[in-house]
Symmetry: C3
Subunit: 264 residues, 3 copies
């Protein structure tokens, strides 16, 4: 039997909003350590990895490891019916082909239960090795989202270049070129306004803006985003989830034949 | 001659927003007692009844009973031009085929008059007898609107079941099932947050969500909604209008052949 | 070389929003006195004139007069990437076929530069003589915008009639007629709430509402609008731009064969 009670139910609502446009169907994996998901996007270009550790739940009962296939669009429809302050409990009986989402209003005056059919989904779990990155940029998530959106009005790809001084986001399109530089900045009033750059060596990589914009749907989950870059590895765009886990997006850089032209 | 002056003109704006999607053309009936309307929706399934008592108007002059046929969409276009704080006066000369809406801004600096052609509309006035209901639910109107909207993302019909403990709204669709229970609750800080259930006998009835959602367009008119249910009668969904009247929606229950299946 | 630094960069963003739907391509003229534009709308009915005086810029360097042809839609896309509190600097080298917009965030942590191709645009500069007007109406810009929008839901043209007492906006359409009267009013708490009428002789002119609505896109630039009317001249709808200039829209009155009918 599975029973996971999450007091801050809005986190689960935000997680669904972050991934439902990227992934159609996915297996949620439950074990003693936590509730997790790993899935490729529908065009098999980007990878999403989600972890919600068991300690983050008020009550976490998972008698045996279980993998539950869900249609994320349908799951999102149900979670949208939860209030932002509701407690969400996820329940499944052993061997059942359904999962139940229970929503409790803060005053306990309104109790909802939504039952959804589970699906059989083939999926292979990729081992993602810990890696060393050339550069790690930590910056306000809203700033990163704004930059990706702004550059999309000019071009289709973004070149992310990191030096000790800052991180540069560049694009080029029919109407012109754009460069946005964010400087390293640690002397801020609030820690979540800092831009922090850890760099072992300079790096400059090109990515499709379409995916970057999709990743920024996770912005409501965290005020900071961490971007880890290495020339031989997919970029990792990570949003921490309030003390209990993370959502990570992986995307391979574009190898552009005319890359020199794209670099402004 | 007819001249009705309503200081809280926004009420009339809200009334139009509440019914214009449900009813295309309707006769407004004026008499010494008040300004009223009774109309079937365009598919002849639901009935709307509106009453604004003469005492609620600052000035109410109606020399003889008169029935004025109006296109509600056009009337709504005109009332949208009134400011939310405007005083609205409705005027018609005897025998005239037009009606005039006059809007006065609170400072009297801006005076507008909008003249609209009246229409001849055949309509029969249904006598609606006072009835005894099996159960009457009084609950926050925003909560009821939210429930109807949420259930619409899952199914097409709602089963409303009342017991002494509470009222249950249920639906069923391709992606699963949903049940929302609101408990009787009278110990609240503000009276408009209460959920009050008067029950003579348990009742469980099925309705089309499309109509229920349409009725909830009246939510801005009142913080409370009253739902009166009886197994042999149409449900009545009533919104009181600030001391001066009400808007009531009537809808016959669906007789479902597979009703047992629908009951979760 | 050209380098214009505007601390209140949001002004330039608002100017673009005000004119980009009316004008596709236009020449921006730079001289020692200021940055200006004059352009017909794409259907050659209305004229826009913009002036930003050099004194309004923190830094203004314009070595020689220059005319820069720009696609306003593309320019608007780039300016939308500036934050509302950003400082905007416009730069062009002598003989260059590009212009650069630089955006600096208030904290200087984020610096963007957007480069856009210039265009060759044929345009003749019309001399607009200073004229005497029969009537000049100064009123809150939001009120004027609301009136134009409201009347558009009833008819296609507006008759603007000025008397000493006030200004009347009228329209007529299939569903009826509308008259909105704004009274002269100078005894207001805030000067920007006043409606002030200077009148030499009464005037009544008809205009296409489509254009009037387009002009009101400039509303965010100024809390007041000035409407100058004369029976032999195009109307001038003017929005002042914070101490540094203006945007003016010119539109010829309609000569309606059935004008008497249109007058309510």
């Amino acid at each position: 039997m599975l029973e996971l009670r999450l007091v801050q139910g809005s986190l689960l609502k935000k997680v669904m909003e972050a991934i439902k446009d990227l992934v159609n169907d996915a297996n949620f994996d439950c074990s003693a350590t936590g509730f997790s998901l790993q899935a490729m996007d529908s065009s098999h270009v980007a990878l999403v990895a989600l972890l919600l550790r068991s300690e983050g739940f008020e009550h976490y009962r998972c008698d045996r490891n279980i993998s539950m296939g869900m249609n994320l669009n349908n799951m999102s429809k149900m979670l949208k019916c939860a209030g932002n302050d509701d407690i969400i409990t996820l329940k499944a009986d052993d061997g059942s082909d359904t999962v139940t989402f229970m929503f409790e209003s803060p005053t306990q005056d309104k109790i909802s239960d939504f039952e959804m059919k589970l699906m059989d989904i083939d999926s292979e779990h990729l081992g993602i090795p810990e890696a060393e990155y050339h550069a790690i940029v930590r910056m306000p998530s809203a700033e990163f989202a704004r930059i990706c959106k702004d550059l999309s009005s000019i071009g289709d790809t973004v070149v992310i270049s990191v030096t000790k001084e800052g991180v540069k986001f560049s694009t080029r399109g029919d109407i012109g070129t754009a460069n946005i530089v964010c400087r390293q900045n640690t002397t801020v009033d609030k820690p979540e306004e800092a831009t922090i750059i850890e760099m072992n060596e300079p790096v400059s990589l090109t990515f499709a803006l379409r995916y970057m914009n999709s990743f920024t749907k996770a912005t409501p989950l965290s005020s900071m985003v961490t971007i880890s870059l290495s020339s031989e590895l997919p970029v990792v765009v990570e949003y921490k989830i309030a003390e209990m886990g993370y959502i990570r997006f992986y995307l391979a850089p574009k190898i552009e034949e005319d890359e020199d032209e794209t670099k402004p």
